[in-house]
């Protein structure tokens, strides 16, 4: 296999706060090849967005501590200068954000905002050339009547169209890596499908390496090649799409999969959910942070296992759970499908 385009090694991001250090990202590893889609999945606060923003240097702040390594084509980014990072943003790594309603400046025309991005990197582009380029981009992402709509303001676009414009802006300089941070979360379902389809097409056409951040496994199933499942700042399981969906090893992944609604199965009388809520990063339980919510907790759980390959036939499929593969295969089946049992009732008088 050729050298990866983007390589993230032992990435750790902590923020000093008045109540202590919040370790938002704690040891994330993955490689990304051209044309590949890696999905990072997890609940709010699991560290997925911080991981993505750290890659393009948007989490740099006085109170941030960034360790580990992010390499783009062999070049280290975590300690690159601000000017070098600025040149790289938009040009080599572009980002699409979650909420298209608030991600454009409301006071400038959409076309002008995209031209601004182009001219930040290619100062000799004339306004006219830039505008022409935006029209092409709008056409490429399927915005009808592109020649007229470049002069619209953001509030004159619908949410789906705005997200298309966002993607057009990300593609303006033909980047190598696209980071999509919950690109469909703020959109309704039919528009979601269109936007995902668009990302998939572009990914194939331009051989674009893509990091897709989402909490929606349905989205992951559509487009991802490989999946990282994050919980409380740590990767709890990672593997190929098929491995994660058909042979999940970590109880948290089971829970995520179990809470998907599926049209091809009988309707459960209640939508399954994972009990409890994620722990505070300032007050993590000893050992496995998922322990308090996990019905399969046992004596080894107060120690946190490393992210290791625990299956004999796959070296890439890693997880952090002490249960043996046989136990996992047995325990993850709930009423004939993968899921997480309801938690044991503890301390009920």
């Amino acid at each position: 296999m050729s050298a990866p385009l983007l390589s993230v090694k032992d990435l750790r991001v902590g923020f000093a706060t008045e109540e202590g250090v919040v370790q938002a990202v704690d040891g994330v590893n993955f490689d990304l090849a051209p044309g590949e889609v890696v999905a990072i999945v997890g609940e709010s606060g699991s560290g997925k967005s911080v991981t993505a923003q750290t890659i393009i240097g948007l989490t740099r702040a006085n109170n941030a501590r960034i360790e580990g390594s992010v390499k783009l084509g062999g070049e280290e980014l975590t300690n690159a200068g601000d000017a070098a990072m600025r040149r790289l943003r938009g040009e080599r790594i572009a980002m699409v954000f979650q909420d298209p309603m608030t991600s454009f400046n409301p006071v400038y025309r959409l076309g002008d905002q995209i031209v601004e991005a182009i001219r930040a990197h290619r100062p000799d582009t004339s306004k006219k050339q830039g505008r022409q380029r935006v029209v092409e981009l709008f056409e490429a992402v399927g915005i009808p009547d592109a020649g007229r709509r470049v002069d619209d303001y953001p509030h004159e676009f619908s949410g789906g169209m705005r997200q298309r414009a966002m993607i057009a802006m990300a593609l303006a300089l033909e980047p190598e890596v696209l980071i999509a941070d919950e690109p469909t979360t703020a959109l309704d379902v039919t528009i979601q499908a269109q936007i995902l389809g668009l990302i998939e097409d572009l990914n194939r056409e331009h051989n674009l390496a893509t990091i897709l951040i989402t909490h929606d496994l349905g989205v992951v199933a559509e487009v991802a090649d490989r999946v990282l499942v994050m919980y409380a700042g740590k990767v709890v399981e990672q593997g190929t799409l098929d491995e994660i969906f058909y042979d999940p090893q970590h109880p948290y992944t089971w829970g995520l999969l179990g809470s998907l609604t599926r049209l091809d199965r009988p309707r459960p009388h209640r939508l399954p959910q994972i009990a409890g809520s994620p722990p505070s990063l300032l007050d993590l339980p000893e050992g496995c942070p998922f322990r308090p919510r996990c019905p399969h907790e046992f004596s080894k759980c107060p120690q946190y296992p490393g992210l290791e390959a625990r299956l004999p036939d796959s070296s890439d499929h890693c997880d952090r759970c002490w249960l043996t593969p046989e136990e996992k295969r047995e325990k993850r089946m709930v009423e004939g499908q993968i899921g997480l049992e309801a938690p044991r009732q503890v301390g009920r008088a």
Partner: protein, 320 residues
């Protein structure tokens, strides 16, 4: 945009009409005293009162009285009787001094307010921010009637580098005009500099957390471009509103204290004189003049606001 401006102008005329009605009701209808008596002044002869009564037609219906009043206002026949001078003459006479004072002060406070606010916001939490915060709070806290005598004492009486008041017309001697206005300008601007820098700072800190600022960074703009084109640009919108209102209010009357302390013969001084001598015509005249500028500046603010924030141009299609 043309339709928007036209709508605002119609609104402006409506408000001015309402203001003139209020002036009429407050000064002519509500007081128990004979309005002719109030118009004539404290030491008026019965003959004068009688003639005013006839001229203003106080025996006619109220709508007719209102029309007569407005006719007199517009034809320059709103007259003060001791000495006998048309109010409009005195207002027009006062305009150069008042405008020199207020426009100059407004330019100074806007420039320094925005500069200090911007620096404070960009360096939020640092030592520069802390110093500027202290300076701003001090500026906001010093009342004009204290600041002005202190400035006069230090710069006019002790150091003797600036005159202690009076107004010299620009056409007469530009250098003296400037020298005479420096202290009044500072007096009038200090409070607003402090206030505006605080407002801009807090607006900018809010805007910095907006998603579109993150987008601006993500597309590779330099920190300065992010700060000026996105953060500052969007933070200015509420400041412009504030400025329009404050500027209108300053022209209309906030400058009175400064004009009186520095003996500047502007409209503020005229108003103070009118109030002191209990003369109705100057008070009415200045009230209408002040209302006109407040409403005018408000209208300008609305139009500028629509220019700065496209979302405000309601009821319009994208193409117009």
């Amino acid at each position: 945009m043309v339709r928007f401006v036209a709508r605002r102008l119609v609104g402006m005329i409506t408000v001015l009409f309402a203001v003139s009605l209020i002036v009429f009701v407050v000064f002519m209808v509500l007081p128990k005293q004979n309005p002719a008596q109030s118009l004539a002044g404290k030491n008026a002869t019965p003959l004068l009162v009688k003639s005013i009564e006839e001229e203003w037609g106080f025996d006619e219906s109220l709508p007719q009285q209102y029309l007569t009043m407005m006719e007199r206002v517009f034809t320059g026949e709103l007259i003060q009787y001791e000495p006998r001078i048309p109010v409009s003459d005195r207002v027009i006479e006062g305009i150069p001094a008042t405008f020199s004072l207020t426009i100059g002060a407004a330019a100074i406070w806007l420039f320094f307010g925005l500069l200090l606010g911007y620096l404070s916001a960009v360096r939020a939490g640092g030592w520069l921010d802390r110093i500027l915060t202290g300076v701003s709070i001090a500026g906001i806290s010093i009342p004009v009637f204290l600041l002005a005598p202190v400035l006069i004492y230090v710069f006019a009486n002790k150091l003797e580098i600036l005159p202690n008041g009076q107004y010299v017309p620009f056409s007469e001697d530009p250098t003296e005009w400037l020298k005479h206005l420096i202290l009044p300008w500072i007096t009038l601007a200090v409070l607003s500099i402090g206030f505006y820098s605080r407002v801009l700072r807090s607006n900018m800190l809010d805007v910095m957390n907006e998603d579109y600022v993150r987008t601006a960074r993500a597309k590779g703009l330099s920190e300065r471009q992010v700060m000026t084109r996105h953060v500052l640009r969007n933070s200015l919108i509420p400041v412009i509103t504030l400025f329009g209102l404050d500027f209108g209010a300053t022209i209309a009357g906030t400058a009175i204290i400064t004009e009186v302390i520095f003996s500047i013969d502007g409209i503020g001084n005229y108003a103070a004189e009118g109030v002191g001598k209990f003369e109705l015509p100057p008070i009415m005249g200045v009230a209408l003049y002040g209302a006109f500028f407040v409403v005018l500046l408000n209208t300008i603010v609305d139009v500028v606001y629509a220019y700065l924030d496209p979302r405000v141009r309601l009821g319009e299609t994208a193409s117009s």
